[in-house]
Amino acid sequence: MKNDNFKAVLRYTKGFRLPIFLSFLLLGAELIISFVSPLLMSVTIDSVLGSKPLGTPWYFSWLIYAVGGVETIRRNIWIMAAVIFALQLILGLVRYIRAKCNNSAGEGVIKTLRDTLYAHIQRLPYAYHAGAQTGDIVQRATNDMETIRRFFTTMMLELVRTILMLLVGIFVMFSLNVPLTLITLVLVVPVALTSILFFDKISRLTNDQEQAEGRLFTVIQENLTGTRVVRAFGRQAFEMEKFDGKNEENRHRTMTVTRSFATLWATLDAICAVEIGAIMIVGILLCVNGRLTIGEFTAFTSYVFLFFWPIRGFGRALNHFSRTLVAAGRIEEVFSAKEEEDLDRGLTPDLSGDIRFENVCFAYDTVPVLKDLSMTIPGGATVAFLGGTGSGKSSVSLLLQRLYDIQSGVITIGGVDIRQVGKTYLRNRIGIVLQEPFLYSKSILQNIGIKCREPVPEEVRAAAVSASIHDDIISFEDGYDTVVGERGVTLSGGQKQRVAIARALMGESDVLIFDDSLSAVDTKTDAAIREALSARRRNVTTIIISHRITTLMEADKIFVLRDGHVIEEGSHEELMTTGGLYRRTYDIQNAVGEEGSEAS
């Protein structure tokens, strides 16, 4: 499992391995320069300003000879200053290129990963989304993704830096002075251990705190989106209490986290203090005994600081690495869900013919919905469906777009089995307006023209007029440019439905399905929309699903469903004489026989 996650992390680097490798190389160069710079000072103090012979490490002496030897430098100290400056310049350049390499690699890895994940989610089947916990997937796509991003942009480099630092540092330091190197190295162990142990604890505490914060934010969000409910029940005090509970929990957990941090930092500082003290005292003793020069001493005091920061962070980096593996595992879980197949493969027949359901059986998971359903929807006709909750009427529309596959039986359009038709083609030619349509957080213009890359304003306007939403739109301050959604204008249920209807009217379709999509619209508007629709209809098979008899009754044919069967079918007049569920519903809604007939 862990191994798989590690492989996944490795796989994410594909296409960016060269810059990653380069950044490791440059990091090594960077470290060498950082460790050599203090030697310059050391030589200056001991041999240039002092009179000690050049006892510096062999790999360093050539630099001194290269710039003219000790005597020349003593006469021209500016040479040393120039070398220091030059080294800083080189170091800066190396750092810059390294940053460029590792940032472009890190951000590139993440962009690719984000993009593939998003595209993957888009290609998952309808059934996956119907049952999915939206929040959980978003969490993975954002938080877990951020963990991986931080690994690739900073933490991975931290790990490599610590390892390279130990290699370069040990080499340079040992060549300077053995006892002081040993002191430095001995204390590396407790620092690393403390850091590793604490970060395990801290990351657990942080996790708890983040969850507490999440719960608090949920309370805030629900309270603000449900203000009306809170007020209508006079529940302000109750809400305040609920908020206080979560707020206190979060306050408490935040403090626990920082208390741990305080202890960690103080502990590390204490170890560091022991280290600095030890180096100073041992340094003095060694120097007095002639086994260390002043210059070497100054170099060592610089090394302590070079060493300590990465090692302090080592625990965090290591901990982050294990969190990265977990995060990768969670993202891989999303990747492991199977994408929808046959999107673009298949026939592209004319879909304006008769739609036939023959002995169709269909179940969501294990709950049977359609049981041996057979019916024929004549091509170009307007048909309507009536039925209670769970009667299967919505399934009919989902099946026609092949959003689900049936268990047995066959659905044909114009004689062609729809399983042989490409899904993209099928969905493009069959328009559905869902009961709870989703509007994208874009402008209304873009929402109606959502199928096009560049919607033509005139076409959008025409569709909006047909869907009786045009007047509403122009009453908004920004008209068609009004942005809808979370951060924009909130549309009423009826307005959303009508925007969705306008959206479905854009472009050509062979079949149009309205799945209870007029429920939130008043009767007058409902009638106006239907009138506009029938004026537009040019040989388009129209399927209307509704609870409202008036919406259904002008259809050419009406199907009444119950428990996945057709229990009644026929025209309004026919069904009225049959006297079944349709008639009953009609009577409930219309008390015909009293005022209605009186009036005519």
Binding site: K111, R228, R231, G234, N247, S443, A527, H547, E595
Partner: protein, 610 residues
């Protein structure tokens, strides 16, 4: 996936009065603040002292080659480091304490304030924005205020004491080193501002990516029916591309900043080395002193970098601070007068013992109302409803039906005229007095996270399980709830996906019924429930509504037929009223509306006749 900035808060300049409001909350934690500042200063002092210790080590022991006074040296260094560790412990703890408390306090104040704001406020400020103010903005502001104390104390002390120390040791070298300070400061301010700007940009794109994923997942079903997968991908890839660019830019600017600062410092060090080196050779300066000056250049840079960081941080957070302060200082359009609060209590501490029982007479007296200036919705509107009367409101969208019930609920207040409940102007009693007796069911049901049982119980907090189930049975929700795997313990929030809109409407209906209100408001409460189920509820509801004042808004006219009185509302006026029978007889607007439902049938019939 486009995102709009909040228009009114684009301030670039730091305005002290904004921050004052937030600093007031810090007044409760003065002690911590003093500790953090003082601790920071102490740490700065010790850091400088350590450079002196190195100098002492070189000049006092190494150069002369003696160990005399070494025990004193050891004692001083141990003492100093011990104090430093304790100081670090103290300042980190106190800053964390400050942050946690400030954030919780500010958040609480804002949340409490929002509970008392009138609806007009929520109309003006999108909920999404309010949420991000109470979450991200507040976290950010309080974090800055709490943690800058350390940097501030430490930085001020480090700079001042370093300068004094340098000049005390060697005037000329001090001048050379100090000359680098203005350059470092300028460079730091320049880069820190840039870095923050790009960080902010990348944060913006980051939240667009989050909402992109959110939308990509929430819209998946709609996307499939529209075959929009590829276009969605394109949109998303653009945002991730922008994100990559912005983040890269922020990172690369940091990658230029530090080397540039290092170069400035190395120039100063170079000069120090040349001048100091000659002095050492001429025995005018000790090696330890030279080493001190070489190190102090680096030491001065840290605080300068911090100051620039603090400055940039405050500046870039100005807009966030203003957004937070805007919530904290908002005033509600509807407030209870002090006299009313004295008698009835406020929304959090109601004095129920002083509340008159509510009977449910409602009267509008010459009420005028508008949401936006110059766009009146109600003009001189009068209406008298007797306690226990069932009123149905019908008419075209935008006619003012919802406004009327909003006023009854006192979600808004009339611009002119008055609203009387039980013969008394509502303004003479507290908002809670009225709203505690309301049952309100909306077209778009809002459920809280928690179980179905908890959601129904929201209507009356002390209701027993039996009473909760009784309410569910009354509205016909019991059957479908029992069919759910966990029954009443099913999660209603996120898992609410399992329920249809109609089912959620039933639950919010049950919640209102449990509240046993005197006044019932049903705003399109049953639009997504199928007719047969609705019939079932209707008979139950009819008995429930008996003896309670009720207002029903519905598009399906069958729903309103049984009302005692039907009001046809058009353009903010009652154009017709009466019972269903009366109105059908008079053949006016209601008749027209009603017959409209059968227009096609009628024309079909007349065609058949001719």
């Amino acid at each position: 996936m486009s995102m709009i900035d909040e228009k009114d808060f684009q301030n670039k300049k730091i305005r002290p009065d904004t921050w004052k409001v937030i600093f007031k909350f810090a007044a409760n934690y003065k002690k911590s603040y003093v500790k953090v500042l003082g601790g920071g200063m102490l740490a700065g002092l010790i850091d400088l002292a350590m450079s002196f210790m190195t100098m002492w080590a070189i000049d006092g022991f190494m150069a002369p080659g003696t160990t005399r006074h070494l025990p004193v040296f050891i004692a001083v260094i141990v003492a100093m480091q011990a104090v430093l560790c304790l100081t670090v412990l103290m300042i980190v703890r106190n800053s964390g304490y400050l942050e946690a408390n400030l954030c919780a306090d500010v958040r609480r104040a804002a949340f409490r304030k929002l509970q008392t704001m009138s609806f007009s406020y929520f109309d003006k400020t999108a909920v999404g924005y309010l949420i991000s103010r109470l979450t991200n903005d507040m976290s950010r502001i309080t974090e800055i205020i709490s943690w800058t104390g350390i940097d501030l104390g430490w930085g001020v002390m480090a700079i001042i004491s370093s300068l004094i120390a340098m000049f005390a040791v060697n005037f000329k070298l001090a001048l050379i080193t100090a000359a680098s300070v203005p350059f470092l400061a300028l460079v730091s301010i320049f880069f820190q501002k840039k870095i923050l700007r790009y960080q902010r940009e990348s944060r913006k794109y980051n939240s667009m990516i989050t909402s992109g994923f959110n939308e990509g997942i929430a819209s998946a079903q709609t996307t499939k029916t529209l075959v929009r997968e590829e276009l969605n991908n394109e949109d998303f890839f653009t945002v991730t591309g922008n994100m990559k660019r912005a983040t890269m830019r922020a990172a690369m600017i940091s990658a230029v900043y530090l080397p540039v600062a290092s170069l400035i410092i190395s120039v100063a060090i170079g000069f120090v080395l040349v001048k100091g080196g000659h002095d050492v050779l001429g025995s005018l300066l000790t090696v330890g002193q030279l080493n001190f000056f070489i190190n102090i250049g680096n030491m001065m840079f840290e605080p300068i970098r911090n100051f620039a960081g603090i400055f940039a941080e405050f500046q870039s957070s100005q807009a966030a601070a203003e957004r937070v302060v805007d919530v904290l200082t908002a005033t509600s359009d509807i407030t209870d007068t002090p006299e009313v609060t004295a008698k009835y209590g406020d929304s959090f501490k109601p004095a129920r013992e002083n509340w008159e029982p509510i009977t449910g007479d409602v009267e509008f007296k010459n009420v005028s109302f508008c949401y936006k200036e110059n766009e009146p919705v109600l003009k001189n509107f009068s209406l008298k409803v007797n306690a226990g009367e069932n009123i149905a409101l019908v008419g075209a969208t935008g006619g003012g039906k919802s406004t009327i019930v909003n006023l009854v609920c006192r979600f808004y207040e009339p611009n002119a005229g008055e609203l009387l409940i039980d013969g008394v102007n509502v303004q003479e009693r507290s908002q809670l007095w009225l709203q505690s007796s309301l049952g309100y069911v909306l077209q778009t049901p809002h459920l809280f996270s928690g179980t179905i049982r908890e959601n129904i119980r929201y209507g009356r907090l002390d209701a027993t399980d039996g009473e909760v189930e009784e309410a569910a049975k009354t509205v016909g929700a019991h059957e479908f709830i029992m069919k759910l795997e966990k029954g009443y313990e099913t999660e209603a929030g996120e898992g609410g996906n399992l329920m249809s809109t109609g089912q959620k409407q039933l639950i919010s209906f049950a919640r209102a019924i449990l509240a046993d209100p005197r006044i019932f408001v049903l705003d399109e409460a049953t639009s997504s429930i199928d007719t047969e189920s609705e019939m079932k509820i209707e008979t139950a509801v009819e008995t429930l509504l008996k003896n309670r004042t009720s207002f029903i808004i519905a598009h399906r006219l069958s729903t309103v037929r049984n009302a005692d009185r039907i009001l046809v509302i058009d353009d903010g006026e009652v154009v017709e009223q009466g019972s269903h029978k009366q109105l059908m007889k008079s053949k006016g607007r209601y008749f027209e509306l009603y017959m409209n439902q059968f227009k096609s049938e009628q024309s079909a019939k007349s065609l058949a006749v001719t």
